[in-house]
């Protein structure tokens, strides 16, 4: 990895899993942020689970548009205002045992106090069979506040990220 990438912190869920990974008090000393995530939801509703993102503890001011591909269809979607913070999809407990989805989230100019922040994501759920999904997501956090906290959680009530799910936050400098 380029030497402009600095690991800020990496966390792995222990036994019992976790309802979310909350990165708080993120230093403002980088240009961009990159999250690399390996996750599996405890839910077995459907064949994959939505992944939600919260910025500075809030799900508001976020809009999302994604293109997706499954084993049988392709399409595009823009979740409604009430669930607009779905950034991608993860594997769940209906998938192949111990299969984890992969997700990267890139946040540009996160520390700016002058303009809104663009967020892009590239994610895939994993399973050895039908039901996996790949998404490319473009998102906007329409606020001029600096981002100092990012929360990644499963969308379905009662779900958790399974044991060994991991989230790593990197700071990226442009020089």
């Amino acid at each position: 990895m380029a030497n402009t990438h600095t690991l800020i912190y990496s966390s792995t869920a222990g036994s019992g899993g976790t309802s979310s990974f909350d990165f708080t008090s993120i230093p403002s000393t980088y240009t961009d942020l990159l999250l690399k995530i390996s996750i599996r939801s405890s839910s077995s509703v459907g064949t994959y689970d939505p992944v939600k993102i919260k910025i500075n503890g809030s799900a508001t001011n976020i809009t999302v548009r994604d293109i997706y591909a499954t084993g049988s269809s392709v399409g595009s979607e823009a979740p409604g205002s009430t669930d607009a913070n779905i950034i991608s999809y993860s594997s769940n407990s209906a998938n192949t045992s111990n299969a984890f989805g992969s997700l990267e989230i890139y946040i540009s100019n996160y520390a700016s106090t002058s303009y809104a922040k663009s967020i892009s994501a590239d994610g895939v759920s994993e399973t050895n069979g039908a039901g996996a999904i790949l998404t490319l997501t473009s998102s906007l956090w329409n606020s001029t506040s600096a981002i100092n906290a990012v929360n990644i959680g499963p969308y379905l009530g009662g779900s958790t990220w399974a044991q060994y799910s991991t989230a790593s936050l990197y700071g990226i400098k442009n020089s």
Binding site: I8, S19, S20, S25, G158
Partner: protein
């Protein structure tokens, strides 16, 4: 029943904490689940309705019988 927890990482201090969810956070997750499942159900119903219209339109074309406006709309780009 074990109360759900979340992992909070203070990126300045490097302190990682495991924190129990509040009642409000649990209630919010349940609300979000209901909204998501309702939207998914609507999308599934719409996709199934469109597929049924296409099947009907194809059968009527083969049989040479008139299509409804909704069936014709599935054939016109």
């Amino acid at each position: 029943m074990t109360r759900p927890t979340r992992i909070e990482i203070n990126c300045t201090t490097g302190v990682e904490s495991i924190i129990e969810l509040t009642d409000a956070e649990i209630a919010q997750m349940e609300t979000e689940r209901i909204v998501y499942e309702a939207r998914r159900a609507e999308e599934t119903a719409a996709a199934e309705a469109l597929a049924a219209l296409k099947t009907s339109a194809k059968a009527k074309l083969v049989a040479g019988t008139p299509l409804t406006e909704a069936e014709a709309a599935t054939l016109v780009i």
